[in-house]
Amino acid sequence: MTARFSAAIVAFAVATAFVAAGGALPEFFVQLRDPNLLGGTLWEWILRTFGFAFVIGLCAALTAAAVLLAAWRTRLRGASDWHCGLAAIFIALCLTGRLGVSLDPIGWVCAAAICLLLDRDDNWSVAAIVAIGALWSLLQGGATLGALLTILATCAALIESRRFDARVSRKLIAAAGCTIVALAQLHGNVWGGYGAHALYLDSLLSGAQRDRLWVGSISAQDVGFAAIVVVAGWYGIRRRGHLTDAFTFFALFALALVDARNLPYFGLLGAPIVADAVASYYVERRTVPAGKLPGYAIAFAAAACAFVAALTAFEPKTVQWPRPDSAPLLAMLWHDGARHRVLCIQPRSCDAASYERATQVAVVLDDRGGIATMRARRIERDVANALGSWRSELRAAGVDAIVAKEDDPIVSLLDAAHWQRARTCADGVLLQRIALR
């Protein structure tokens, strides 16, 4: 039985799962309004023009492309088709926690493409890496990862060759290019205002939104993470003798532990390394694929077009916007005409405030902990945990509305302190200060 299509089958399954998940990630609503990300504007235009079904299909196709690029990278290293399939399965597991419409799939494709090109050593690849880095920084907030990957590759090349040769020079040019385009943010306001994320390192700040692995019951993404680590531990990523592999693997390993939102990148960039290590142990004769990337790219594009077209054809034709979970709670504030300052006990719930361009509603903190002030994060932490002088902090910050879960301690504490439930929705509740209503 041939395993030639194993990675493609997994990629198609991931795309299907993406569509089946059906929703949008809360972060998407922040990304849509981020002035420094053209991807938000582009996605919004596509949403308004073609509808949500088209956008979700496009995101699914991009995700499948990222999986296939990673599998292709595995194959180009001489691993067998079976091992490409193994890498694709690991990646699929790692992606499960982030299946939903957002700008992330753009970042996934760019990261997979940069790593594919970093494995090569020619001028064309350097130019392509910088171009992809520039495109990434224009469209999505994770371009700093592209810079990190190229810097790590340069360091590894320098350590391996122990001198400044042509290979190191090429990697250095790529690193410099990617770093400049990632940091400069070629458009938008000030670069201090940038921030869908920068490797999600901001999640380590007190009060900021953070997603962690292994919390609660074991999920598919936990299994994906563990599978990559265990297989790496079994075979050793040192087997292939590429220092770049080790640097990339451990950097992404640490980033995934910092915040689970980095896990897809760990899967996309780490799984090919691990699958290659497995292949190098079991496969004596390594083979390079006979086909060419343009040919495969055209075949994939045709399949992706068919996939998106079929999806769009069977979905309602009306332009349909996704609704964030907390939108009904915040909608009450959008439409009452008064100005409000809202604090969400789970910062992510406030992402929806960006969604309506409702200027009369200001939030203390949303998903972008990195660009929030220290004071905002302190208020968030103190109020969410009812610590210290949180009541006076609430007053000083002028907060007159709080979005919380029914079981959050703040609901009981604020009830007693003359706040009232303005609206409940599912397990969420909007609390409003009575005096200011």
Binding site: G233, I237, A386
Partner: protein
């Protein structure tokens, strides 16, 4: 190996200093002392919760730490707790030493052995205390050493497992590890060899050994049930490890990373090592309390692989083997050990108890029988010996039914149901940490008054209270 011994000595000093001052730091010692005293008086192990609790009287209880509790009861009241403390510290040090020895036996270089031993020491720091599982660590280190030795004395694993099972239910991990070891041997040998047969007999033996406790088959059932228990979410040690924990980021994580870099199983077709690495790594990601177990098992494997990169004849190891270097390291470690003991002994957190003993004794001195809810269930352990206090939930925690746990969490997390729970169970006294949400909400609630307050804790009692029976 001498350098590794220096590392062990440093951690042993730290363990000893922590254990010496442990008495006022962990409320669990209170229920263990209470249980041990009851066993010594009654000459049998209580199998059900009694009237000391008002939420789950009669609930089935597997007092798995019975042997350790007897040791606590035998030493704590008679001011000989230091004996238990030092024995516990010695058990921790023994675990480290045996792990270093195991690495040395596998041919690990001087640097690799010392480095991985230090990482294991860091991984152990988070969970170290005068606790039953520390003896489990020492026994685990001995068990995996015996497995490594592959001689006829490997059958000592069986009595060691039985001993561990009587100290702590974590002994259930032994049959699983030995089973994986046996499976790995089968794959490596590819035939039913005497070694394979011996390891499968050993697996059977350890499976039976965990039944050799006063609870027989009930202990494994209890331990397996605990893996899916609702109480895990409320106990910090059951939470997954995080980078912010030094024991993880500075201890276990580097060990796992080194394993990932060098490869544990494939280079020499060590399926046994690979299987233990996989199982222990998975286990460690799920809970903080599993970190030392994982570190103890995988460290010698990692040291062995690290020695491939930095072999004994490498310059670093040659320098470490020089007499002057050895003298320098040993004397430095001795100074470090002394400094650790001195500084830890003078640390305010060590010198003073952080537990609410005074709050509980004040409440116990009040007339009548009180139904007490503690914000941290472990604090209520100190109320168990008090005749006029009945507790909602205490540090024994495992035997309390899920409904009681849900009710406890409703109050602890101050959900909208909190006051309903206190009313439903007729709780008339609440011990909370000052400034925490529970204390804040009680201060705002009519019908409750401050009965006791100090810098850290506050006890609220109902203004109109009906006396409970005990």
């Amino acid at each position: 190996m001498r350098i590794a011994l220096a590392v062990v000595a440093i951690f042993a000093a730290r363990f000893a200093a922590l254990a010496w001052h442990y008495r006022g730091q962990d409320a669990d010692l209170a229920w263990q002392q209470w249980l041990g005293s009851r066993i010594l008086v009654l000459h049998h192990i209580p199998m059900r919760l009694g009237l000391e609790t008002f939420t789950a009287t009669g609930a089935h209880w597997i007092a798995q730490e019975w042997a350790f509790s007897v040791a606590v009861a035998a030493t704590l009241p008679s001011a000989r707790f230091y004996v238990l403390a030092l024995v516990t510290a010695a058990a921790g040090a023994l675990a480290l030493f045996v792990t270093a020895w195991r690495a040395h036996r596998r041919g690990a270089s001087t640097f690799a052995t010392a480095f991985t031993t230090a990482l294991v020491g860091f991984a152990m720091m988070q969970s170290f205390g005068v606790r039953a599982q520390i003896f489990g660590w020492a026994l685990l280190a001995l068990i995996v050493l015996l497995l490594d030795m592959e001689s006829s004395i490997v059958f000592l694993v069986i009595p060691l497992t039985a001993l561990w099972a009587n100290l702590h239910a974590s002994a259930l991990i032994v049959p699983a590890l030995v089973g994986l070891w046996a499976l790995g041997t089968t794959i490596e040998d590819r035939h039913w060899t005497p070694r394979v047969e011996r390891n499968f007999i050993l697996t059977l033996g350890t499976t039976l050994a965990v039944l050799l406790t006063p609870f027989s088959w009930q202990l494994p059932v209890y331990a397996i049930g605990l893996q899916t228990s609702a109480i895990r979410g409320s106990i910090s040690e059951w939470q997954p490890p995080d980078l912010s924990l030094p024991a993880f980021s500075g201890g276990l994580l580097p060990l796992i990373a080194l394993g990932c870099y060098f490869g544990i199983a494939a280079p020499r077709e060590r399926w046994r090592d690979g299987m233990l690495f996989a199982a222990c790594t998975l286990l460690a990601f799920t809970a903080i309390r599993h970190m030392p177990i994982c570190a103890l098992v995988i460290a010698p494997m990692v040291a062995q692989r690290l020695s491939n990169a930095i072999p004994q004849h490498a310059r670093l190891n040659v320098v470490l083997a020089e007499r002057f270097s050895e003298f320098l390291i040993l004397s430095s470690s001795a100074i470090a050990a002394i400094l650790i003991v001195v500084t830890l002994s003078q640390a305010p957190a060590m010198a003073h108890s952080t537990l609410p003993q005074r709050a509980i004794s004040t409440l116990a001195a009040a007339p009548g029988v009180h139904k007490l809810y503690c914000e941290d269930f472990a604090w209520c352990s100190m109320a168990l010996p008090e005749k006029n206090l009945r507790v909602f939930l205490d540090g024994r925690c495992d035997p309390f039914p899920p409904a009681v746990w849900r009710a406890y969490l409703d109050v602890e997390r101050v959900t909208p149901r909190w006051s309903g729970v206190l009313d439903a169970y007729s709780v008339d006294a609440v011990l909370a940490k000052a400034g925490r949400p529970l204390a804040q909400v009680l201060a705002l609630r009519s019908g409750w008054r401050v009965f006791y307050r100090d810098a850290g804790y506050v006890v609220y009692t109902r203004e109109t209270r009906s006396t409970a029976q005990r």
